[in-house]
């Protein structure tokens, strides 16, 4: 079977396009870096792809709020293409700045479980870290096993770096959170690594630096009601191999014992991308 075609957006300050394309290729995708303007101008069509990735970076310098200006370009110019993409059951991921873009286009969290397809209304935001600082540090993440998210199936807990200054997830009211929680859309949270696996998730805000940004309910990432659109602040692509984990010289970097691509050296982050590729292959 032909490898799923993955469009990895780049341009205007997206920075993580090379590695995001690389990790999809490692797990059997056929990733191509496509300049945003090629979709905007109609040179290229989203229809030709089966997965869309919006990588991390500093689109437009994050001026006027992270992801805002890139979100606007997509919201105004790609509205119909993006709606059709999700309606066709194709997965979308936004990482870091890409997550911020998806939130500001309104793709995340999206309307509701009853009417899950995108309406491009912004319902949440990612704002400045409580610390006031951009920081690069490693965090521990735990995933909701019940989440409809197709990207996170079977993943319990991973270590990942965060690298952002605006990662605090906020929504106007607790009922907004409750609605997402009821549908298991609060897919991934920052947790205290000393808790038992599966018991780490809590709504009570964790102290810095366990939660690096003061996110409400410790949210690191969410999905839409279809489970196809997923966004998160941390960088799973940055731990595609164990040699990228800070503990690797201590011989304690976590991850699968063996893999078809990197042998004993596969890192914990790669499974997210493999899940999407396998999902596409399984649903053709």
């Amino acid at each position: 079977m032909a490898a799923p075609k993955v469009a990895v957006l780049f341009g205007f300050g997206i920075n993580c396009d090379h590695e995001t394309a690389a990790v999809f290729n490692l797990v059997g995708g056929d990733a191509e870096r496509v300049h945003v303007n090629n979709f905007v101008s109609g040179n290229r069509s989203l229809d030709d792809f089966e997965i869309l990735a919006v990588p991390g970076g500093f689109s437009f310098g994050d001026h006027l709020g992270s992801g805002r200006l890139m979100g606007n370009r997509m919201r105004f110019a790609l509205r119909d293409q993006l709606h059709a993409f999700v309606a066709a059951g194709k997965p979308i991921i936004g990482i870091c700045n890409g997550f911020q873009v998806l939130v500001k286009t309104g793709l995340l969290p999206g309307p509701s479980a009853q009417t899950p397809l995108p309406d491009f209304v912004q319902r949440a935001s990612l704002t400045l870290n409580d610390s006031g600082r951009y920081e690069d540090r490693w965090v521990t993440l735990e995933f909701d096993a019940e989440s409809p998210c197709i990207w996170t199936k079977g993943i319990e807990r991973i270590d990942c770096p965060v690298r952002h200054g605006e990662g605090k997830f906020v929504m106007p009211s607790t009922t907004d959170f409750d609605a997402l929680a009821a549908n298991n859309q609060l897919t991934v949270r920052y947790v205290d690594p000393s808790t038992p696996v599966g018991k780490g998730m809590t709504d009570r805000p964790l102290p810095f630096p366990l939660s690096p940004n003061g996110s409400m309910r410790n949210i690191a990432g969410i999905c839409d009601a279809t489970g196809l659109v997923f966004g998160l602040m941390p960088h799973p692509e940055a731990v595609y191999a164990k040699w990228l984990h800070p503990d690797h010289t201590r011989n304690t970097a976590p991850g699968p014992l063996t893999s078809d691509v990197l042998g004993e050296w596969e890192g914990e982050g790669l499974q997210i991308f493999r899940n999407a590729v396998e999902y596409v292959l399984g649903n053709r």
């Binding site: 780049f10 341009g11 205007f12 300050g13 997206i14 920075n15 993580c16 090379h18 590695e19 690389a22 990790v23 490692l26 300049h35 303007n37 040179n43 991390g56 500093f58 437009f60 310098g61 994050d62 001026h63 006027l64 709020g65 805002r68 200006l69 606007n72 105004f76 912004q122 935001s125 704002t127 400045l128 870290n129 409580d130 006031g132 600082r133 951009y134 920081e135 690069d136 540090r137 490693w138 770096p161 690298r163 906020v170 106007p172 810095f208 003061g214 960088h235 692509e237 940055a238 595609y240 191999a241 040699w243 990228l244 800070p246 503990d247 690797h248 010289t249 201590r250 011989n251 050296w265």
Partner: protein, 1015 residues
């Protein structure tokens, strides 16, 4: 056109914070111990457009404000709204840009404005300007609003509008207006009469900021007396018997110390009364740097390109080559720490992009030298407090590096009082490129031919950045010009970078270089040497604002520009690519083979200089050098009486808190060090990821563990005793750091970045001969050590005027060499970090401790506290580098083979500090015994900084193999990592140090944590 004001402020409420205001509040606490109850922030936009206020008001939530987290008002100041600001503040300050200063948020906002009004005909001078307002509540008595404003802005580039407590209670809110730039009138090219007296020549050079000496001015004068030259000029219709202002400026830039490295190229008469030496050195650069590297190039096949390009290139494997360059941006950073440092980092990124046919920047390094952040002494006029310089420089490289998506993988911060006069800001970048392009060309070789079209790509040309090259060739004074200051625009550069690398792979580029010092005059001028000529039309150059004169267009150093040559048949494809990426690319010149640098403004010739005279016409300087060994007061620790038990333990905690040793984590963590998903060894390592990393290690090809090591060494205080020893120590430290990560010592290259005080004897610099002798000794040591290590210097730079003021008030930096190393790491799965791994690990010293306490960190600490008289004594030396390298090779291959996973360089603070840092990284204790580490004094064996040493950890099961592996090399068992929570260091039966690891963590981390916390 009308100006519409839009203001945005964070919503108040449960879980919401005004983080920007909070940062201001915390910094006032951290830097000045001023406790303000609350600071609230407002972002303002001044929109100059013919789109109506009503239309803008309707769309504010689509662009300017985020409706989830922010409130917005149009044409009303938030401060006047009692709904949003029910309490009256004690002070309100608005900060905006001065006219013409780069306003990145403003440009981004205008880009977004065009997205939401896509069909509107935007007028040419429509734009958006931004500002910030801060409202202070609960301000302590006696804090003046003017002073508060001065901490928030730099009046070289920004303006402040202030309302004090009185004004606040009367509702006189600060309303800043749109920074309109007054129209400029274009001055036509001027004839510059040089038939004047020598005094007038010098005065012309000085008042025009040309930075040329008399002999150089006379060389230019006589050039225009040549009859043949006059005739050739008549033929193109340019003034025949004198230069135009365009020509004179162009020569001044090209011949500047910054561009031509005249001191390194000079003929030096060197005498050393102590040895009786009396000799002549014909170019330090050619003799001590270039020759050794060229000799090494004959023996290896991996040195692809050295010295002549924007960075040095080495073959990394069959498919990829890597390159590295480091630059300094000292003078701009002194005037505007933020903008100066940012343009430093994005500028050196362009050096990489301009290497060969274009390399991709993949890693940054930042090394700073500042005055002490807690400085309480006097500050000379026009200088910022070191903590302000620190914050600004850090923010500049943080924004420049992070927004460009290039990880900062290595660096250092060094403190000394003398850097108050001039901070040093070194920025380095590593690049990677495919050995061969799809069209078969080798990517490290430029391939221009006459007839190629020369484009200026990226940003536009403005008044910002005029005279940077000549300005940096002068000492800093109270009247230093603001036009030399710029703010970088990383996003414009990132767009350009994406586009250029695509154009490279499509085979569209025949030649490329960056626009840095000297602007187009340097970039096109240098590239024109390949084909021996060019013709430029300055009227075609896109400008930020109209009215620039021809000479200003030619020499302006406005940022974010590359100069790229494209074959005529490829221009259409190149234009299309620029359009896709929304990058401005304009043909401004053509390569010729006429031998002439021919500059026109439309049809009029404004400069007509031979390529030969432009590049080789500068006369060689003749300089005098005389060495005498400095004799500062001796450091005599044996006379210091320490408390019996706690003596060295207390010293250890104090040493860990010394700014030069203390953790820089809170600063370094704000750099993205992991973008590109390649960083294997990060700046901080260990269980809590907060122990010191020795070198950066990256695996840049995704899925492949083939690695690259990046490290640095710097030891400026050794110059107080001998600048030669300083140079040797810097190189050795860089190599040792790289060895700790398992570098292949047979495939590594170096960069030499010299920062020196003025070393030309004159009234301003009466001790110029000695300072030049320091440079001679440093370079001799550089050659000796690099030859022994077979370490080629492939690129470098020098900054030779690092002084502030003159006479009594003069402050000169200590002569400083930053040595950077980059090289091959065969397999990153086998590397080492400094953290002790587990109890039971055996600790070994590799290398020999000698009686070398001169200029050591402990001597400086105890001298500064008054406990010791001086820092004099034996400075660490490197007598047999050819033996050291064999030990380094053995240790590095032990790491590469997986035998060792714990290694740490032993430098500032000696064995005691190294062991402490390794305990901190592992959160363990250790029992160390320095008995058996030689005959030197206890002080030397504990605190001494002898070169060539490492501390390594060996797992017990590997101990025998390690001893065998290191046979013939100096290794000494020191002890064992323990379960206990203490580091104990003894000398036989005498316990010298017994300190809890947690206390060491606290001492090490607190000094430079200036964040003010997270609450």
């Amino acid at each position: 056109m009308a100006v519409t004001r839009v203001e945005v402020t964070p919503k108040q409420g449960e879980g919401m914070r005004d983080v920007r205001g909070d940062v201001v509040r915390r910094q006032l606490m951290a830097d000045h111990n001023i406790k303000v109850e609350e600071v609230r922030s407002i972002n303002g936009f001044l929109i100059k457009s013919n789109i109506s206020k009503a239309e803008i008001t309707e769309r504010v939530n689509d662009l300017f404000s985020d409706p989830i987290i922010e409130d917005v008002l149009t044409d009303t100041l938030f401060l006047s709204s009692s709904e949003h600001f029910p309490t009256t503040p004690a002070a309100a300050i608005t900060i905006g840009f001065k006219p013409g200063v780069t306003d990145n948020p403003g440009s981004a906002a205008f880009d977004g404005f065009k997205t939401i009004f896509p069909h509107h005909d935007h007028q040419r001078d429509a734009s958006i300007s931004t500002y910030h307002t801060y409202a202070f509540f609960g301000l302590p008595e006696g804090v003046s609003t003017e002073w508060l404003a001065s901490t928030l802005h730099n009046n070289l580039i920004q303006r402040a509008v202030i309302t004090d407590a009185n004004g606040c209670s009367n509702g006189q809110w600060p309303a800043i207006d749109y920074p309109e730039k007054p129209p400029q009138i274009l001055t036509p090219p001027q004839r510059m009469n040089l038939e004047i007296s020598d005094e007038e020549l010098l005065s012309l050079s000085e008042t025009g900021l040309l930075a040329l000496n008399l002999e150089e001015m006379q060389t230019i004068q006589s050039h225009y007396r040549d009859e043949a030259i006059r005739q050739s000029r008549a033929a193109v219709g340019i003034v025949t018997d004198a230069p135009t202002d365009v020509e004179l400026e162009c020569l001044a830039q090209t011949w500047s110390e910054h561009c031509k490295h005249k001191i390194f190229a000079s003929k030096i008469h060197h005498i050393d009364p102590e040895t009786g030496e009396d000799s002549v050195i014909d170019s330090i650069f050619k003799t001590h740097i270039m020759k050794p590297t060229h000799d090494m190039q004959k023996e290896v096949d991996w040195l692809l390109s050295v010295f002549h390009d924007n960075s040095g290139v080495i073959a990394w494997d069959d498919d990829w080559s890597v390159c590295m360059k480091a630059e300094t941006h000292n003078s701009p950073s002194a005037l505007d720490p933020y903008g100066g440092a940012m343009t430093g980092i994005v500028g050196v990124n362009r050096d990489i992009l301009g290497t060969g046919l274009g390399a991709r920047p993949i890693a940054n390094t930042d090394v700073f030298c500042f005055g002490p952040p807690n400085w309480e002494g006097e500050l000379p006029d026009n200088l910022f407090h070191p903590s302000r310089v620190f914050r600004g420089v850090h923010a500049g490289v943080r924004v420049g590096g992070n927004e460009s998506g290039i990880p900062t993988v290595n660096g250092a911060i060094v403190f000394d009082d003398r850097y108050i006069g001039k901070p040093l800001v070194y920025c380095g970048t590593v690049g990677i490129m495919p050995r061969k392009l799809p069209d078969g060309r080798e990517s490290h070789i430029k391939t221009p031919t006459a007839g190629d079209i020369v484009y200026m790509v990226g940003g536009r040309v403005g008044y910002d950045g005029i005279h940077g090259a000549t300005f940096s060739s002068l000492e800093l004074t109270e009247e230093s010009p603001s036009s030399a200051v710029q703010i970088g625009d990383p996003i414009t550069q990132k767009k350009m970078l994406d586009m250029v690398l695509e154009a490279r792979d499509a085979g569209l580029i025949s030649c490329i270089t960056d626009n840095g010092a000297g602007g187009l005059s340097s970039s096109i001028g240098e590239m024109a040497t390949y084909t021996d000529g060019c013709e430029i039309d300055l009227a075609k150059v896109p400008l930020k604002q109209p009215g620039l004169s021809a000479w200003e267009i030619l020499v302006s150093e406005s940022q974010e520009r590359m100069t790229i040559a494209v074959k005529p048949e490829d221009c259409a494809a190149f234009d299309a690519m620029a359009q896709l990426h929304e990058v401005e690319a304009t043909p401004v010149a053509t390569f010729t083979n006429t031998g002439m640098f021919h500059v026109k403004y439309e049809e009029e010739t404004v400069a007509y200089l031979s390529i030969e005279f432009l590049h080789d016409g500068v006369p060689q300087l003749q300089l005098e050098s005389e060495w005498h060994t400095p004799t500062p007061e001796l450091f005599t620790p044996e006379t210091i009486s320490l408390p019996e038990k706690a003596g060295h333990s207390n010293l250890l905690l104090r040493m860990l808190a010394q700014p030069n040793i203390a953790s820089k984590e809170s600063w370094v963590r704000q750099y993205d060090h992991e973008v590109i998903a390649q960083t294997v060894i990060k700046p901080f390592v260990g269980v809590e990821r907060d122990g010191p990393g020795d070198a950066g290690v990256i695996a840049p090809i995704h899925g492949d563990p083939h690695g690259l090591v990046i490290s640095c060494g710097i030891a400026p205080r050794y110059s107080d005793l001998d600048a030669g020893a300083m140079a040797a120590a810097s190189i050795d430290e860089a190599v040792r750091n790289a060895v700790c990560a398992g570098i292949n010592v047979d495939k590594m290259a170096g960069l030499d970045n010299f920062c020196w005080p003025d070393s030309i004897e004159s009234v301003k610099t009466p001790d110029g001969k000695f300072k030049l002798a320091q440079l001679v000794r440093a370079n001799r040591e550089l050659e000796r050590v690099c030859r022994a290590y077979r370490l080629p210097c492939v690129s470098g730079k020098d900054s030779m005027k690092n002084d502030y003021g003159t006479g009594e008030k003069k402050i000169s930096i200590p002569p400083t060499l930053l040595y950077s190393v980059f090289g091959d790491q065969p397999d990153v799965r086998f590397t080492a970090t400094s953290d002790f791994k587990n109890p039971g690990e055996k600790v070994y010293l590799v290398g020999i401790s000698k009686e070398e306490l001169g200029a050591s960190e402990i001597s400086f600490m105890l001298r500064d506290s008054g406990e010791a008289n001086g820092i004099g004594g034996q400075v660490p030396l490197l007598p047999n580098p050819e033996i050291n390298i064999t030990t380094y090779r053995a240790l590095s291959t032990a790491i590469q083979s997986g035998l060792i996973r714990t290694a740490h360089d032993c430098s500032e603070g000696g064995v005691a500090v190294a062991a402490a840092e390794m305990c901190i990284g592992g959160r363990v204790g250790a029992n160390i015994d320095i008995d058996g580490t030689g005959d030197a004094s206890v002080w030397s064996r504990l605190w001494g900084e002898s070169l060539g040493r490492f501390l390594v950890g060996v797992q017990p099961e590997n101990e025998d193999a390690f001893i065998k592996w290191m046979a013939g090399h100096p290794i000494t068992i020191l002890g064992t990592v323990t379960e206990s929570e203490n580091l104990t260091i003894s000398d036989g039966y005498d316990v010298l140090i017994d300190v809890e690891t947690n206390s060491m963590v606290e001492a090490w981390q607190k000094t430079l944590d200036m964040t003010g916390g997270v609450a």
